[in-house]
Symmetry: C3
Subunit: 453 residues, 3 copies
């Protein structure tokens, strides 16, 4: 390990620990798709990055959906005849099914049982359940505890409120030279779950901190939103400007120990898809690329056919492929500082690639230019020094005909983007390249084209 | 085996037996490219389906060809000096080379021998030989019998007539909602051969019976024609309307015990090609797809460059790949009721797919619609029921942007067409989809485009 | 081995020996990118083929380059105190670094050493070094000899002249029916090196001799030029007419014992690329196809983005992949007459394919024509004779719709070009095909399109 490697590695370790500490701070908060828990979370984020917090009133229409009533909970428990709380929301917020309606009544175990959810295969874990759009109530508990419940009468109390209020989301916008945007979206609606929710938040906040301190060609928009209804609401509120989104990532499940998985956008070959594949190929030991499918996280909305935005999903082990998913075992131990740091680093490389992925035109397109007199070529032929540098120079010159981005060239040459970019910079400096405007490309189709108008 | 499976299986068995019985009825008839045998065959078909029989006079021009003289035969034999028929057309109609001109003379074995055809590798089989377009005569016989012929004088009698008459073919046209057609073509010119000829006829007749009883979006045209000259004549007579043919199949050799083989149309990626591949992939254990090549059956004519119709060839073991081909061993035992039933079932699935392969437009293209309030979604998140159904719903919604057929979606989702179609129907019912007209697509080029005019 | 094979083989042997003898004649000449050695070489070529020799004055601009001063050398040596030439240009012209400036002085070994080049890994070989564009001087020698040099004072003499003169190149132009050209380019700037330089010259000269004696549809242009500066100068002088070049080959390193390597043009799928791949596939036991990359020989200039000509590079073992490369071990023994003959034969097959690669239109595109009455079809069906011939006939008929060249058809049918061409000729003879003009295709973009104007 060189000094530089070791420094980078120790910086990575520190970063990973810092993100993990932030997760620990957010862990106890009871989040749902609306309510005080989301607000509290957004305020914690606001201490770190310039976050604007939006409140969208219950009842607001968002395409086919309506912003629901706001849900808040003060207390919830099941108490036995001896007056002991056998299930207690205050002990773990997963014990209460999210969006449970208020209840206060006594009932025998037989009546209570249909409202209890457990994981028989993992008897020590509490499952995570929600019922957002159908009025209902329920408790989740360890299967081991469930089996120990005697047949007796229980007092069931859910002190929750489902009232007109609002859906809350946060947006950190970092303006760049261009109004073209890179979107980073993560969900903030899960209670005490770590990989699924908090890991994405922690990495996104750290990325926003880093990018805020850099010069940016692109503008960056970091969204912290409730899953599904949040992205739908955001898209409805920002319908007129989403065409500015040129690249995007949904960040989720970025802290477990598994390998990185990148799920491509619906377009499948969008620049973000190719760029992320390139980054991973040139850095990672092992990773997985998967094609778009219309299940998963908020990429479902960004990639709905009426938007078809170039938004992929960056994660590690996909949801549902690890047993801890949606259970109390997705806790602070399940998420590794190293994994957080590595996820952060790859996303940052993606941004750097996208920032630098320009199109140039060779100003001396007929035959090679004489690199030697510009100091870019070894002078005594036959020496092997700087061979890759020269090859990169020649690739950039040969392929810079106004039709290829640097990423196109890196892929064609099978060299890393960094090498190709360095070559382009050297050629730019001696005037052999000129930047060329990128052609507009948007997949966005009008309502008229959809035959809806 | 479930009750439904077992019912379907017993229905398949019955169907296979029925097709086999029809073949047994047609087996003794001496067919050729013209003559009474074809007429007798078509009349037998006419008892089952509404068949129009056409007579095209000898001498009629059909592109580069001319309808030949009509050939009929009353008797044919080779008799030895003892007055015994050592080769007898009445014992097996393969004994006579098809289109043999009339002969009545005595000759020694030496003169007879050049007119005798055998299969030395299969000494118990009679070969099948024809000489349609060059006047000639000949007998085919078992090689074992040939070797027993003593050197003596033989009386050779062929009581045949080659006279002006007509070429006969049959057409069953089932009009549908649209004048767009599905063509099914099989040849009726082979004498007592089963897989090569009769199996295609039997399956085509049964398909026509089935489709006649159904509501049809497409019109269906079943052709029963002599090979080569029949399809050429039909194309010449119907040149102005062939552009109505949107999909087509040549049916041949569909009764042997081998796996199904589908030979793609010249276009190679026509809807019929993709649809048949999909059907086979989702039903068959093993099957073979082969690219078009300009040898084989009447697909050669339908796929000639001046027509280039989307017509594939559905068969089991390809001709020439089984030793029984074009010999007396291609008999009723060689063809299996099970194979006939399975061939029939796959063709029917193809028709069902083509009938249902429509393009829809998602009426709520921006973000996902709320399936829950339309009864299309599980209400408590986290349950695994109906998972494929939901995935199919989401695929149809996501991909129905007016550019994808249901088959496109099934292929992309890697789900069976049936699942995708069920999902589309459910969405159509709740108003989330609307059908969209399919773009015209024809490969047919004018004479002008060919530089012929 | 048949008589014909053996005759062809003995003719190949003779050809290979003849090419090798010509190389032996050129071997001793001291060539560089300019100077008398090149002129002497071109005069030797001129004795065999009609070669026009051009002189381009030093100082002439050629795009980003300038024709350099002309370099000539009379004598060069390093003499020890005992008056012995320890390094002597007259013993081997590789001893002197090409373009060394004049020197005449005494110096201790310490001062001389930075000017001495050896190959420590191959102590018996003399390396080849040049310094064209930076004034310098140097000697190359066997590492074994270098190690034996005692510490003493040496007299260093380089009797060279760097003076205004010219760059010399030769061009053999063979006009054909069309002004469309096939370009063959090889470099003539290396001193006593055999595979890298002389082998390409020998094969190109022989190809020119052969093509000069044939009827040609295409015009052929054989260039004998100094590497890099030569092709750049030629392109600058002929900028207005390079669009006539429809196919091209750089010939280099065609005499070693390794397998044939074809490096595709920048276009990657140009006709020359596909044609060469076809030729090699149908003749060679083993060969290598590699994609274009912007390193190598003069294809770098022909394939620069402002020209993007369809010019590939035909070689055997690529430069740098054999240790003898650019050393005295690349001598007459290293080059095999057999390899020369085989390289020649494949290039000739390429020319024959390109000459014959036409587009035809089937004059009877609707259904198959009746081949039988034109004598192109077996008369008794069921015989296996001439099967490939018929298949080739049917492929040509089926695919000749004005959009496919014979090479397209050969690739699609997976038959050799020869078979497809024979079939086309037979069909042409009976009037079933007509030739169709080929569409213009050039990748050449104007300065305006490059945004340079």
């Amino acid at each position: 390990m060189t000094g530089a490697d070791s420094e980078e590695s120790s910086r990575g370790e520190e970063l990973g620990e810092a993100m993990h500490r932030f997760m620990a701070e957010l862990y106890p908060i009871c989040r749902s798709i609306t309510g005080g828990g989301v607000r509290e979370t957004l305020h914690a984020i606001q201490k770190r990055i310039p976050l604007q917090i939006y409140e969208v009133p219950s009842g607001t229409k968002a395409f086919d959906w309506t912003v629901p009533l706001e849900w808040n909970v003060t207390d919830a428990y099941v108490m036995n005849q001896a007056g002991k709380r056998v299930i207690d929301f205050k002990a773990h917020n997963l014990h209460l099914m999210s969006y449970s309606s208020p209840v206060r009544k006594k009932m025998p175990l037989a009546d209570l049982r249909p409202h209890l959810f457990t994981l028989p295969d993992h008897p020590e874990w509490i499952p995570y359940r929600t019922s957002y759009y159908k009025e209902s109530w329920g408790f989740c508990l360890r299967h081991a505890d469930f089996e120990r419940l005697p047949e007796e009468e229980y007092e069931v109390v859910i002190d929750s409120r489902l009232q007109p209020g609002s859906l809350t989301y946060g947006e950190a916008y970092l303006p760049g030279e261009s109004s073209d945007e890179i979107l980073i979206s993560c969900h903030v609606c899960h209670p005490s779950l770590c990989n699924d929710n908090l890991s994405g938040i922690a990495v996104a906040v750290k990325l926003a901190e880093t990018m805020a301190a850099r010069q940016r060609r692109y503008s960056y928009r970091f969204l912290f939103i409730p899953g599904t209804i949040g992205s739908i609401t955001w898209l409805a509120q920002n319908e007129q400007t989403v065409s500015r989104i040129k690249h995007g990532l949904v960040l989720t499940g970025v802290g477990d120990a598994g390998r990185i998985t990148y799920k491509k956008s619906r377009q499948g070959n969008a620049e973000v898809d190719r760029a992320m594949a390139h980054v991973l190929k040139h850095v990672e030991e092992a990773f997985t690329l998967i094609d778009f499918f219309p299940y998963g996280y908020d990429e479902r909305q960004y990639c709905s056919p009426g938007f078809d935005l170039p938004v992929g999903c960056f994660m590690r082990t996909p949801h549902g492929h690890y047993p801890e998913y949606h259970s109390s075992a997705d806790n602070l131990d399940f998420v590794k500082p190293d994994s957080l740091a590595q996820s952060y680093a790859q996303c940052l490389r993606l941004f750097e690639l996208l920032e630098g992925n320009r199109i140039y035109v060779n100003q001396n397109p007929k035959c090679e230019p004489q690199l030697g007199r510009r100091g870019l070529y070894r002078t005594v032929a036959g020496q092997q020094e700087k061979q890759w540098t020269e090859l990169a120079l020649f690739w950039v010159l040969n392929a810079s005909d106004g039709r290829h981005t640097l990423l196109d060239i890196a892929e064609r040459a099978d060299l890393s983007f960094d090498k190709i970019q360095s070559a382009a910079e050297a050629l730019l400096e001696v005037g052999l390249l000129k930047e060329c405007p990128r052609p507009e490309s948007t997949q966005w189709r009008s309502d008229h084209e959809y035959g809806l108008l």
